[in-house]
Symmetry: C2
């Protein structure tokens, strides 16, 4: 089992048994998610911005909106990259033991703005195909002007940890006898019937939801 | 219409037409969401941690896990509180114009650790009932020991902005003629059949999913 080395900053301290450093599990969470929250600091103030991303091996590419607040002239920025999947509400017999089932990944590091246009094109391909496999290849090719007006951050997965909670509520022993419903309400994200754009040309095949492989477990 | 006053830090710069400062819309997003991402800075490094929260008027209460990394002795901490709801994938004819439909709220400010136990109890009630209305009242009362071992942050909603994207893809005019499927794949979060804890006592009424009002729009 290949693992990330916990550091002072990524060692899971609170409820350490939920900590996961296995690369395969981290990759699986990142591949199922499609939204990340990126944290960065400007003048001492933390900002957390949601955006899209994609993974290629031990690197993630993050779509540009976070860059709008930082100097484009900088070559990089220290970030925290977080992806969270919520799997359910955990209802216990006491409010104190309520929880959520979730899988989250946190990666710390110095993210680099990609300046080389060919590298940036490859990164955008990864981000696009992360949502719909093959979408990059079937859409109109990206122009140089578009590439120049998009910013993409690259972060190597080095200082990484995941936290995972599964299963039912863990109550205090004396509370199990209480006549209070306890258990898990599972949650999942599902796509519904695609809505074709009004201006789509005639004769196109409908969009096949099976292409969104991340949701197939919900079928 | 009551609005938040945009500041230098919350003014939406990238695609400013997506910026929303209307309090009612901000509240609606916060009330529909159930997971926040909290950003804070330790030794210059940003951290982004997912956790639960609840809203009471112009204040949000944030459940304690973020506190584990910061000194408990501090009376507060500068944070960025972000909640994001993803409503769909937006597929355009070019990769460049791909997007997501989403609603997100970002609030900046100095969050205070609640030390008064009565105030903390009230805050935990808000957080608990944010997930399942009435749950606080039907569970075993929280003890003083439990209150003392939980940390809760309070953040006043003062420096706040929201971003909202809705609708179909916006393509370059000349791309509309291309024979490429374009449109929106709607996404929603749905609960599935509650799983009763193995150790629940006999004779309990099943958990009623209608209590989770935030999902009723998906019915």
């Amino acid at each position: 089992m290949e693992t990330y080395q916990p550091t002072e900053r990524t060692q899971v301290r609170r409820l350490p048994k939920r900590g996961v450093y296995d690369k395969q599990q981290v990759h699986a969470i990142l591949d199922e998610g499609f939204l990340c929250h990126v944290g960065f600091v400007v003048d001492g103030q933390p900002f957390v911005i949601p955006t899209g991303y994609g993974r290629e091996g031990e690197r993630v590419f993050i779509h540009g909106s976070p860059a709008s607040r930082v100097l484009r002239s900088r070559d990089g920025i220290d970030i925290c990259f977080t992806v969270t999947l919520v799997d359910g509400f955990v209802l216990a017999r006491s409010a104190f033991h309520h929880s959520m089932n979730y899988r989250s990944v946190m990666a710390l590091g110095h993210a680099r703005f990609i300046s080389d246009l060919q590298e940036k094109s490859g990164a955008l391909r990864v981000i696009t195909n992360h949502i719909v496999p093959g979408r990059w290849e079937e859409t109109r090719p990206t122009t140089e002007k578009e590439l120049k007006s998009t910013s993409v951050l690259a972060l190597d997965l080095e200082e990484v940890s995941a936290k995972v909670r599964t299963g039912g509520p863990i109550d205090d022993e004396e509370d199990y006898a209480l006549p209070i419903w306890a258990g898990v309400v599972p949650l999942r994200t599902v796509p519904s019937i695609p809505i074709r754009d009004d201006r789509a040309v005639d004769g196109l095949r409908p969009f096949d939801l099976d292409r969104l492989g991340r949701f197939s477990r919900d079928a």
